[in-house]
Each structure stands twice: as C-alpha cells, then as structure tokens.
C-alpha cells in the first residue's frame, strides 16, 4: 500500500543519500582539477595529447547532456555546434589572424547561434524521432557547407589552424595546452552546474518530466527550450574551439555521424543528465580508443557493444556507480 507511511514520520528510507550541499559539490569541481595540476610532469607528449582530448570532450559532453539529459529532447545537433565552434576559431585565427584565445568566446557565441537555430523545430512542436532526424540533417547539412565553401573552410582537406596562443604566450607543448584547457573545462562544468541548480535548470528538468505541468506552473516552456539549446551550443562551441587548437587541423570528416555516435556514447556511458557523468564519460570514451590504434573497426565494434551493454544493464551510466560509492557524486540522474 503506497500510503502506508504515516505522514507524521519521515519515510524510513535510509539507503537513499541526499543531494550533497552546494559547497561540497563546489569542492569536488575545484579539488579534482587541482589534483590534476601536476599531471603533465608524468605524461609523454602523446599521453598528454590524449589527456587534452579528454578535456576537449568535457564541455562537449556537458553541453550535449543539457539537451538530451536535462531537457530530455532527442536532438542530435551537438556535432553541428562542435563543428561550428571549431571552424569559427579556425577561420578567425587563420583568415583574420586573431590569436586563438580571442576566438574562444566568438566560437562559443557562434555555437549558441547554431543552438538557437537548431531549437526551431523543437519550438514548433517537433519531438521524438522526428526531432532526432531533423537535427541530424541540420548537422549533416552544415558538414556540406564546410566541404563546399572552399574559400573559407578549405573544403574537404580542411584548414590548418595556427599554433594557439594566450595573451601573447604561444602554447607550443601539449602540457601548456593542458592548463588552458583545464581552466576552460572547469569553467564549463562549474557554470553549467550553477545553471542546473538554479531556477533555469529546474525549469529544464520540469519540462522534461511534464511539459504540461511545467506550463501550468507559469514556465514559458518555449523560452527555456531556446535557452537550453543556446547554452548547449555555447559550451559545445567552446569545446570545438579547443579541438581546433589541440589538433591544429579542422576537417569536415571530424564532424560526421561517427562523431555524433561518439558523443552520444560519452553521455550515455557517463550518465544521462549527470555532470559527473559527462566528465567520466569523456574520460572513458576518449581514452578507450587509444588502446585500439592500428586496428580499424575494433574501436567501433567495441563501442557499439559497450553502449548496448550500458543501455541494457546500467541505464544511468557510470555516474550511477560512482554515486553508490560516495554521496558527493550523486547528481541529477536520468530517470524514466
């Protein structure tokens, strides 16, 4: 009987851990990066590159997760934001000669603009698979723009991005990039955490759970869907800018459907709707392929199987495992 628990007593559920206090979480978001500071001392150039790539995928996953995990819309426009950010940084640096660090914000803003565009179908009431297909087509359409707009993008061969610099300092080693990337990744996580814990984040999750009831609470759902897409585009766009700086070469191939599945995998394996999950997913999924270099296809096969297993047996991702270890990892887990 559901109403068995008398109202005057707390429901005696001892197993459930309460969401941690905001201060505790903040500690987590600052302490982990601090612990990572000496990392470049222990890694060779290649391993450092992989570590940097993980940091690139942190904002990408965080941004993507907002739309599919927190807002709960099946939209695949994240690769479009990622590509726009990378190309924005690349074009500004290569064609206009801007130092890389000044292109980060514009890349984010371009991503946000793409986010607003990608939200149009959702605002017009398109949902479910229809929304997935439309946003997927949007991303692919952009990829053709990269391929065909040769004077600006360099076409299929892409463009070389000049060595990144920050405030006049050139980032010549992977280790130097690491520190800049770390700051950006931490900012993406901390700021997104602020949003998710505020009335905005609550509105996103309310919309996901019950759009009708959300509107009945006076939430202008359209405005919040637009906002979620814009912030998602902004954060992922910055990830794109970091990617351009890391790889030094931006090509259309990097933003195809395979990339979409990779990013989808990061979020699903890490944990839908969970910030901790976004970070963990980025680390696991980015590091894993490095074990399969020189074995074309093995990585795809393994990822495919891994995702299948996660959906069947760990639907809330690795974050739910961590949450069992310590309440500080307890996050907004995906529920259905």
């Amino acid at each position: 009987m559901t109403d068995a628990a008398p109202i005057a007593n707390p429901t005696g559920k001892s197993g459930r851990s309460k969401p941690p206090a905001a201060r505790q979480r903040r500690t987590l978001f600052w302490a982990v990066p601090l612990l990572l500071l000496p990392l470049p001392l222990f890694l060779d150039q290649y391993k450092q590159y992989v570590a940097n790539l993980i940091l690139v995928y942190v904002p990408v996953a965080v941004g993507f997760n907002i739309v599919i995990g927190n807002l709960g819309l099946l939209a695949f426009s994240n690769v479009a934001f990622f590509g726009i950010g990378a190309y924005a940084s690349g074009v500004l640096a290569l064609k206009l000669g801007w130092p890389w660090w000044t292109t980060i914000l514009p890349a984010g803003l371009m991503g946000a603009l793409a986010g607003c565009t990608a939200s149009v179908p959702a605002l017009r009431g398109v949902r479910l698979f229809y929304l997935a297909i439309m946003t997927l087509a949007f991303g692919e359409l952009l990829r053709w723009v990269y391929i065909r707009w040769v004077p600006v993008t360099g076409g299929s061969f892409g463009m070389s991005v000049p060595q990144p610099s920050v405030l006049g300092w050139t980032l010549s080693t992977e280790g130097q990039k690491f520190y800049v990337f770390l700051v950006l990744a931490v900012l993406a996580v901390v700021l997104t955490d602020r949003i998710l814990r505020s009335r905005f984040g609550r509105a996103f999750m309310a919309i996901k759970d019950n759009e009708l009831a959300a509107a009945a609470m006076g939430i202008p759902t359209d405005r919040y869907i637009l906002l979620a897409f814009a912030w998602s585009g902004f954060v992922v766009g910055i990830g794109g800018s970091m990617y351009a700086a890391l790889v030094g070469h931006v090509t259309p191939v990097a933003f195809d459907l395979t990339e979409l599945i990779l990013e989808f995998a990061v979020v699903m394996v890490g944990g839908l709707g969970s910030l901790v999950g976004s970070v963990v997913g980025a680390a696991v999924i980015t590091a894993a392929p490095e074990f399969f270099r020189g074995l074309p296809g093995a990585q795809e096969l393994l990822f495919g199987v891994l995702i299948v297993l996660v959906i069947l047996f760990l639907p809330r991702g690795l974050a739910s495992l961590l949450a069992r270890l310590h309440p500080i990892f307890v996050d907004r887990h995906y529920r259905d």
């Binding site: 009987m1 559901t2 109403d3 068995a4 628990a5 008398p6 109202i7 005057a8 007593n9 707390p10 429901t11 559920k13 459930r16 309460k18 969401p19 700021l191 602020r194 949003i195 814990r197 505020s198 009335r199 905005f200 609550r202 509105a203 999750m205 309310a206 996901k208 759970d209 019950n210 009708l212 009831a213 959300a214 509107a215 009945a216 609470m217 006076g218 939430i219 202008p220 759902t221 906002l227 709707g273 907004r332 887990h333 995906y334 529920r335």
Partner: protein, 254 residues
Amino acid sequence: MASLLEISDVSVRFGGLVAVDGVSLAVGAGEICALIGPNGAGKTTLFNAVSGNAAISSGRILLKGEPIHGLAPHQISAKGVRRTFQNGGLFAGLTALENVLVGLHAKVGSGFLGLLAGARASERAESSSTEQARALLDLMEVGHIADELASDLSGGQQRIVEIVRAIATEPPLLLLDEPAVGLAPHMREQLVRIIRRLAAEQGVGILLIEHAIELVMAVADRVVVLNYGRKVADAPPEQVRADKAVLEAYLGHA
C-alpha cells in the same frame, strides 16, 4: 461583487463531440466548489478550459472580471490560476523541495547572466525562495520529505506536494483534479484539513473535481453536478446528495 472565477455559458467541442455544453458557474474568493458527475461528464475538460489546456468553442471565462480564455497555459498560470493534475503532475526527477521551487519559479527572479557571474543577488534570491519553499512544506505537514525525489514519495505525499507547489505563489484560484484518488483514509483527512485551511486562512477560491464523495461533503461549500457535458445541479452538498437528478446521472439508462 464580481466572483473570482466566472464561467458563463462555456462549451467545448472536439470534432463532433460536445464535451462541455453551455455550462455556467462561479467561484468566489475563499469558496470551495466541487465538480462531480459520472465519467465522461466533461469535468476534466471544463478544468482544462479554465487552465488554458483546452480551447473553448463558445462562452466566456473571467478571472476577477477579466477574460482569460484564449490565453496560453503559462499566461493563465501567471494571472493566478494554479492547478493539479489527475494523474499526478509532479516532476518525478526533482525533489519535493525543487518541485515547490518550480512553483515559485516566477518569483525567484534571478537573471541568467547574473547567475553565471555568481552575483550575490541571484544567490540570495535562490536561498530566500528555498527557505520559503521549506517553510511552505512545513506548514502543510510535509517538511520532512523536502529532499526526497518526487518519484520516491507515496501517492498521498505526492498529492500534497503537488498542492503545495500549486499554492506556492499564493494564487487566488486553485484547481484540484481528483486530489483524493487512491489516497488512504488518514491521508484524506489531512487533505481535507489542508484544503479547508487554504480557503479559510488565505481566501483561496478552490474548484475541485472529486469522486470521493465523503471528501466533497467534508470540504465543499457548493457542489456542481455535470452529466453529458451539462450542469444538472448546483447546490450545497446535502441538497445535492438527496437530488434525484444526481442519482439518475450516476445510474445511467437501461
């Protein structure tokens, strides 16, 4: 004096079906009006018309003398009409407290950029509304479950949290869609207490749909009976109970 809510001659049609057929009723401030009738009588449709979830095909719906039909649900909500849902409209992935905070959404008022910059003002807005939400949950005797996820609450607790959420902004009008369905007796008593307090202490006008007649008898000042989309009775509870037309409505034809 104009009533708080005035529904006059409202009809709602879906295709060829007339779900609500020329119904008029009024609810005053601090008044509790119950809407009863057999399945398919049009009760929920009438509710949806008031909250903006269904379009009316004729008639008028006035809140404090001002027309609200034709507005979007979130606009009607902003004007002070809050509702609960028949099948539980709580946000399952949020805690009880967060659900109430969503109810307070419009009042929190932190700006987006200020929030990103970590401005004191937005933190203050958050923490003061959090306190307010906790106080409300305490007031309604469910303070101890504030940090439980809504999906982990019992059916009764969910109902009460949903009501707390609806009244968080102190709306003048509250619509309750079958608040007692599936509730254990002791929870029903608590519900009755809360509904009466809202009307008496805060002057909230309440329109509720309910099948549990003992609850209707206990709280309602007036009972409106619908059958086949039409109003067949509008009277104090005891009178309705004895009304022949009401019994007929429930019996059906054969």
